[in-house]
């Protein structure tokens, strides 16, 4: 009997992690699953933004986010394309302001965790990215002078600016534009998504809580096994935020319209390096320069043509349609893209990681089931700050 007990203990100690429905994760798969957490991630301020994390700036930024007068004709605000009840996107394939944009509006949930901003990474800070749609002729189509005049001449705007920055807005329009972008960034930093069924499973796996693991649906477990295994999805959709923050060519056509291409990261690097608002410029508040390391070392390479940023997969079920131009309507369409990948569409010097996965219908359904568990049971609801509702004194 004693020998039988010893053998039983040894057998249990050596077996792979087992979830409900009999999905047995190998030690290697378990390690890959665990690197997708913990969640939430700890806070860290943006050194290039002196009001990063500041409450008064976040309040001012929230007011600005919904302010249509920031646009040239008073028609559009940031919230026009980043709507709170649509997971801070707009549900369109390509966003529309004064004109049709080339790209899909990404969700702003967890946006502060990015290293690069925009599908092409032309922004290296959240505040630099916040300037771009204000000035873009297809989006809000404004100019620095227009923004400066609004902030200086509107009593509430001027009051909130003073509360956020400790001084009234100056006559330097560009400097005022940068400051309101920093306030916008300070607000957007507060947009975070909560814990998900995947996070509960991941943490249960970490502590070998079999009961906790068993609450995670079997289909999602099978999909997760594909995600970290044969699918190789976790190589690029890496880490707690399910993105390595870098850029890849995955064979999505990059024609914005007949005769015009969207080169993605290739042009993004050029725009980044030419921008007066990058972390190397005079508007960065980081006197040490430590936070500009990536900007200093980023390299333009031929293979950047047609590369776009790896998006986070957190709350992905809420942010259809998908890909940089919204070409894929559903998560199943996205998974089928990888299943049936046309290697001829990849650049000759492109990623050799990508091969058609040739998934069955059941495997596609399992992967989608897993991706759906990256959304909280209760999708985030936006509640305006009390200070926003009251007049600035």
């Amino acid at each position: 009997m004693r020998l039988l007990l010893v053998l039983l203990v040894l057998a249990v100690a050596g077996e792979p992690a087992l979830g409900q429905g009999g999905v047995a994760f190998t030690p290697a798969e378990t390690a890959r699953i665990l690197q997708h957490g913990p969640w939430p991630q700890p806070w860290s301020a943006d050194a290039s933004n002196r009001v990063s994390g500041a409450a008064a700036a976040a309040v001012f930024g929230e007011v600005l986010f919904f302010e249509k007068r920031l646009s040239s004709q008073g028609e559009f605000s940031c919230a026009s394309c980043h709507t709170p009840d649509m997971a801070w996107t707009d549900g369109r394939a390509r966003s529309r302001g004064h004109g049709l944009a080339d790209r899909n509006a990404p969700s702003l949930l967890n946006v502060r965790l990015n290293r690069w901003y925009g599908w092409d990474g032309a922004g290296d800070s959240l505040w630099a990215q916040s300037i771009r749609p204000i000035l873009d002729g297809r989006e809000m189509a404004a100019q620095a002078a227009h923004v400066g005049d609004l902030i200086r001449n509107d009593q509430q705007m001027s009051c909130r600016y003073r509360q956020a920055f400790g001084a009234p807005p100056s006559s330097d329009d560009e400097a005022v534009l940068v400051d309101i972008a920093k306030a916008l960034a300070s607000f957007q930093e507060t947009l975070v998504s909560g814990r998900t069924p995947f996070d509960e499973f991941r943490d249960a796996l970490a502590r070998d809580d079999r009961e906790g693991m068993a609450r995670y649906p079997a289909a999602a477990q099978r999909g997760l096994q594909l995600f970290v295994g044969r699918g190789n999805c976790s190589l690029c959709h890496f880490g707690p935020n399910f993105t390595n923050g870098e850029f890849h060519d995955i064979g999505i056509p990059f024609f914005a319209e007949p005769g015009r291409v969207d080169s993605g990261r290739f042009d993004g690097i050029r725009r980044l390096q030419a921008s007066p608002f990058n972390r190397l410029g005079r508007y960065s508040d980081d006197a040490t320069g430590a936070s500009s390391l990536a900007t200093r070392h980023v390299a333009s390479q031929h293979r950047n043509w047609g590369e776009f940023k790896v998006p986070s997969l957190r709350h992905v079920a809420l942010t259809a349609p998908y890909m940089h131009a919204g070409t894929h309507a559903t998560l199943a369409d996205v998974v089928r893209h990888y299943s049936e990948l046309d290697e001829n569409r990849l650049h000759a010097d492109g990623e050799r990681l990508l091969k058609p996965l040739r998934l069955t219908d059941a495997e596609i359904a399992d992967l989608v089931a897993f991706l759906e568990t990256l959304t909280p049971h209760q999708p985030p609801e936006f509640t305006p700050r009390v200070a926003v509702e009251t007049k600035c004194q």
Binding site: Q35, R115, S234, L235, A299, Q301, R303
Partner: protein
């Protein structure tokens, strides 16, 4: 006797041509060798996916002078791509350098590459590095 003496000098000369002392000490250095140089390197922090890091390396020349130009890079041979960043190299001391701005952006088998150029020739040495993910 004279023949033995000549033979002994030849052996000593051959040994000096093959070895040199890299000017570093301590743990964690990985050593590589080309026809003209010996390289020792170590990352300042343990590389992790998608995080910028720096790498110290030191050289000695088996004979002659140190290289006039040094370059550091990393690539994933199986995926046919390198890094998205070009490291900068600064000289810390004679034969001692620091490369900054490296990033390995996905888990798997990488290869560090050191290019050491002098007199119109470039020695290339590589070292594998497995990045867990």
């Amino acid at each position: 006797m004279k023949g033995v003496g000549v033979f002994a000098v030849a052996i000593l000369a051959a040994n000096v041509a093959q070895a040199c002392a890299v000017p570093v000490s301590g743990a964690g250095w990985q050593q590589l060798e080309s026809s003209r140089y010996v390289v020792a390197f170590r990352p300042l922090t343990t590389p992790s996916v998608g995080q910028l890091f720096a790498l110290d390396f030191a050289l000695c020349a088996k004979s002659g002078a140190l290289p006039q130009r040094v370059r550091v890079d990393a690539q994933m041979p199986a995926h046919r791509h390198g890094m998205n960043y070009v490291p900068s190299v600064q000289t810390m001391a004679q034969g001692v350098y620091r490369a900054e701005g490296l990033m390995l952006h996905m888990p798997g088998r990488w290869q560090f590459l050191f290019e050491l150029s002098a007199d119109g020739r470039t020695d290339r040495v590589t070292a594998p590095f497995d990045l867990d993910g």
